[in-house]
Amino acid sequence: MDIATLLFSALYQFGDAFAFLVLSACGLAVIFGMMGVINLAHGEFIMCGAYVTASTAHAGLPLPLAILAGTLVSALVGVLVELVVIRHLYERPLDTIVATWGLSLIATQGTLIMVGSTMAGVGTPFGSFQVGAYSYSIYRIVLFCAALGVLAGLYALFNWTRFGVLARATIQVPHMAAALGVDTRLIYSLTFACGAGLAGLAGGLYAPTMTLVPTMGATFIMEAFVTVVIGGADVFLGTAPAGVVLAVIKSVMTSWQGQLFGQIGLLIAVIIVVRVLPKGISGFVLRERT
């Protein structure tokens, strides 16, 4: 095998890991960064997106539209959850964790009861291509582009739209924003919906690549948590660089020792990072800047 194919293989694995980390984490990071709330039901929003995507795709919708449907349904469920539960707990961040944990339990077991222990999946589209002796899935490249697209979209949303300005004002000084006439409750609702929708998008995008079971959320949340902890509160200064660093660690460890050691590498990275940079990468960057 020559150097070029080796390099391509490494790049491909890096891109795959990066897409997985960023897509599964950005919904969590938006909610945490804006509201300081950790949504432990994040994995279940991902599951919701994947299930809706799969069932609408079975009903005959083309895959991109099905993914869109999954995203929208998750966002709607997010609004509902925010209205019924999260809204009452903003003063108590630890209790939000516990409550969303309860929600995740309800969602997992409820899906198990209603839909059954597994659901027919959707085939991975686009097929594969050959580089050197190995074949690669084109869909993984699409996922990588989707991750970049989501980051760009979020950047545009929070920097160039009215909602983004109001949302950033609300995080900085909530009561000041409220005094200036911003409906902060609505902003919180919309932010939560945005995070839930991003989770649904991640679920929809990954639905064609994995088996659909009620506990599938658990396969995402560890990576999502680790990325958010290492990244810190800011999506662009935190989640994106954390995604790059962790993707390198994960792809190197995975190709060296296998899937499990990739995850163990992530875990060790997070434990060391919390000791060295308690506020994550974005906290470090912001402190350097000021």
């Binding site: 630890l94 309800i106 997992t108 948590f225 499990l260 060295v276």
Partner: protein, 353 residues
């Protein structure tokens, strides 16, 4: 006599609910009933009660770390699993002769405590708190479950103990007391019942003393306001780390007793669902009080088992609903709420007289 009075005094204080002769008389009655209980019951029910008691230890550990210390840890089941596996590996390798099972019990708890020391050092000395602590401990727990679940192959063995992947380990010897007339084996029956009951009373009273001591007061002060506690000259990191390690040891004790009780341990005892159950018992009972935690755990466990007859999925949905409602409506816990209401009622009645 004086010694006895001061012992009782150290058991009471502002950090625990229940004081005075009335409370201790009630305590003695409950204890007497618990001691006499096996005489009126069959082996299966007694074994089942031991199962309930086993879980109380992990609930108490969470009550200590979360309720008193204010750091929400999802890692209790990780310590539970480490100690459970530790006991299994040790006893399968070295057998149960010469009281080794008790040595293994302490060694296994020590393993869990050492692991907590290592993890806690990175977390508390990195000064992460609040929600991040919860996420890191949860990530560790899930990782450990995934790791143990993939140990199915024959290369995963420690000495003669196969780890057996998702099926878990089984057939480790139960606790055995060496005795002149032949060793006494504590199977999941009356013998184990008294052993666990004794441990439970010891741990409960010990934690009451600990929490009402100056150490306990500092822990509560840190929960209420970490900056203020630090300004008063306490190194909060050390206090939090010690609490975390004690909690891990208790969770480890729970894990060993669970392994002893059923003579098996599986990776799923560290999974998401397993990690959520102690949280539910403690939150529903009343996380900031030891007595409420014990009562809450036993009540919720009994309710859960009764519901499992209709299918464990339904029972888990019910538990989730219970948890969400408790957090929304009675954030201090249902049992604690009832107990505070009762004590207010009593004091009003006394005032009226």
């Amino acid at each position: 006599m004086n010694g006895l009075v001061s012992l009782f005094r150290s058991l009471e204080g502002s950090q625990t609910v229940g004081r005075g002769p009335g409370f201790w008389a009630l305590f003695a009655i409950v204890l007497a009933i618990a001691c006499a209980y096996p005489l009126f019951s069959d082996g299966y029910t007694v074994g089942n009660t031991v199962y309930f008691f086993v879980w109380v230890f992990i609930a108490l550990s969470l009550c200590l770390i979360w309720g008193y210390g204010g750091s929400l840890s999802f890692g209790q089941t990780a310590f539970f699993g480490i100690a459970g596996y530790g006991y299994g590996v040790l006893t399968i390798n070295f057998g149960s002769a010469y009281g080794f099972t008790f040595v293994a019990l302490f060694l296994a708890i020590g393993m869990a405590a050492m692991f907590a020391l290592l993890l806690g050092y990175f977390m508390f000395f990195g000064r992460i708190a609040g929600v991040f602590l919860g996420i890191v401990t949860l990530a560790v727990t899930l990782m450990l479950e995934r790791f143990m679940a993939q140990t199915a192959g024959p290369e995963w063995r420690i000495g003669s103990a196969r780890l057996n992947g998702f099926n878990g380990m089984s057939a480790m010897p139960p606790l055995t007391i060496p005795w002149p007339g032949g060793p006494i084996v504590l199977i999941a029956d009356i013998g184990l019942y008294y052993f666990v009951l004794g441990l439970l009373v010891l741990v409960y009273l010990g934690l009451r003393i600990l929490m009402n001591s100056s150490f306990g007061n500092v822990i509560v002060a840190i929960r209420e306001n970490p900056e203020r506690a630090e300004m008063l000259g306490y190194d909060i990191r050390k206090y939090q780390l010690i609490t975390f390690v004690i909690g891990a040891a208790l969770a480890g004790l729970s894990g060993v007793l669970y392994t002893v009780w059923g003579q098996y341990i599986t990776p799923s005892s560290m999974g998401m669902t397993a990690a959520s159950l102690p949280l539910i018992w403690v939150a529903v009972g009343g996380r900031s009080d030891l007595t409420s935690t014990v009562i809450g755990t036993l009540v919720v466990l009994a309710a859960f088992q009764a519901l499992t007859i209709y299918g464990s999925q339904y029972a888990l949905v019910f538990m989730g609903v219970l948890l969400v409602l408790t957090v929304l409506i009675a954030p201090n816990g249902l049992v604690l709420g009832v107990m505070n209401w009762l004590s207010r009622l009593i004091s009003r009645y006394r005032g009226a007289k």
